[in-house]
């Protein structure tokens, strides 16, 4: 058996004197496996992603262990992790509008990611940049490469971000709500792009979202995160068929509005679960 590309054990993250943002989270991602991490905003899923990449702000205090591509991540300086990031592991952020440097042409930003990890001749880098921009479905890759980010639409920018994440064929791609900022039609095309690109690269994926419907399109296993803890960890089919935790039941019900009889009120998560206790029984 091969070892997992990502292994998280007992991870906790605390900011200042507040409640832990992440409290004792453990999970693993096997090579090529796609895991969805789902939860509401503030549940600690983005903090988990940043911790996995070693990108937490300085004032965060961490405990536990994170092994990424066979290397420990926590409490190591940027310089030591630089060889790993963008090469073996890459990350796609939520906001395509701000994830690209506004002062640098898009092609150069992609070329930079190659140059950081590979010794390649300039001509070859250029060819590789155009190839990957084409592969992420950008028409006229040469024109896109010569554009500044503000000259591209949100969907185009997110494709560029995907291209930057995949250009070095990483073992694991961490996606932090990569489609949340896009409108629904663009969202669908970016998702199918991610799907095919990940499959082609054979890369594993940790996909973070608050939207079960989005995660269900891409992932085979789902982690449900609530208040900094993982409350459910099961294959997608099992989550959809027989969710165990009341919060998960709420998520599944709200994602399946096609099963709500016409004219009835749409379900909300609060129908199934609230912080004050299990409300499911009261409703019945």
């Amino acid at each position: 058996m091969t070892e997992p590309v990502l292994e998280v054990a007992g991870l906790s993250v605390i900011f200042g004197n507040r409640e832990p943002a992440v409290a004792g989270v453990s999970f693993a991602v096997e090579p090529g496996e796609r895991v969805g991490l789902i939860g509401e905003s503030g549940s600690g899923k983005s903090v988990t992603a940043l911790a996995v990449m070693g990108l937490l702000p300085e004032q965060a205090r961490t405990s536990g262990v994170v092994w990424l591509a066979g290397q420990p991540v926590l409490d190591r300086p940027d310089a030591e992790l630089a060889a790993l990031r963008g090469n073996r592991v890459s990350m796609i952020f939520q906001e395509p509008m701000t994830a690209l440097d506004p002062t640098m042409k898009v092609g150069r930003q992609v070329a930079e990611v190659i140059g950081l990890h590979r010794r390649v001749a300039r001509g070859q880098t250029r060819a590789r940049v155009l190839e990957i921009l084409d592969a992420v479905g950008l028409s006229g890759p040469a024109r896109v490469a010569n554009s500044y980010p503000h000259q591209l639409s949100g969907g185009q920018r997110q494709r560029v971000v995907v291209a930057m994440a995949l250009v070095n064929t990483p073992d694991l791609v961490i996606c932090d709500e990569p489609t949340t900022a896009l409108d629904v039609t663009v969202q669908a095309t970016v998702l199918s792009l991610l799907d095919s690109s990940l499959a082609e690269a054979g890369a594993g994926c940790l996909f973070i979202s608050h939207d079960l419907a989005v995660v269900a399109q891409l992932c085979t296993r789902i982690l449900v995160m609530l208040d900094g803890k993982i409350v459910e960890d099961a294959p997608l089919a099992q989550i959809l068929a027989e969710p165990k935790h009341p919060y998960t039941r709420g998520l599944v019900a709200t994602a399946r509005i096609d099963q709500v009889p016409v004219g009835e009120r749409l379900p909300t998560v609060a129908d199934f679960w609230s912080r004050d206790g299990d409300v499911e029984e009261e409703l019945r």
Partner: protein
Amino acid sequence: MKARLSLAIGLILVGLVLVTALVSLVWTPYDPIRVDSAQVLQPPLHGPHLLGTDGFGIDVLSRIMVSAQICVQVGIIAVGIALVIGVPLGVFAGQVGGWGSELVMRVTDIWYAFPALLLAILFAAAFGSSTGTAMVAIGLASVPAFARIARAATLQVMSQDYVLAARACGTRPAAIAVRHVLPNIAPLVGVQASVSFGIAILAEAALSYLGLSAQPPTPTWGRMLADAQTYLFSNPVLALWPGLAVAAAVLGFNLLGDGLRDLLDPRLKEVR
């Protein structure tokens, strides 16, 4: 609209100073240092001397023109020194954070508290009065302003997603400073450079008025003001020309800086 206006006026005045300095390199109406006792204290606008002559019979317009060279030279070198020292300090402080940042900022605070003119007088006492020492002193005195601006702008850039994304791509801190921070703070630093250019010109005029900068016979506006003092009651107009020149140059660079600042201010951008 107001930004455009001050930008336009600033550009015109700055352009005037630069063109004057360039032209004076190849042509002036008269020799700017030749003493002519037959032409002493000619009135302006009458006769061959457009702005008249001074107490040594030297053509005032020629001196004003040549003085623009010193003024531009001092501005460039002083601002250059301040940029080269201040910006890296500020970027470093903004990027590393923690006690390293605190140390740099406290040192610049102390530095800031030291008056520029006092520093220049000290330098003149230690190394002799020359344009060189004046430029270095003014430049060093301007360092904290650049360090502060650069640090504030760097902090802002470092909190942007594209820096996080760059780190996630494996970009090392030094490369982030050069490739992402510097280009993005350049506009703000540019505004500060323009304002500091004006301050440097004013400081140099004050120093040469006190005799702590360029030495005779090199003409400077400050030196001309000092010379004109002797004739303040008989020929007050002699003090007017260099005074106007200093005012125009300083106003020009300040308006240019203000105009750039307003033009680059993202809050104003949304309104337009």
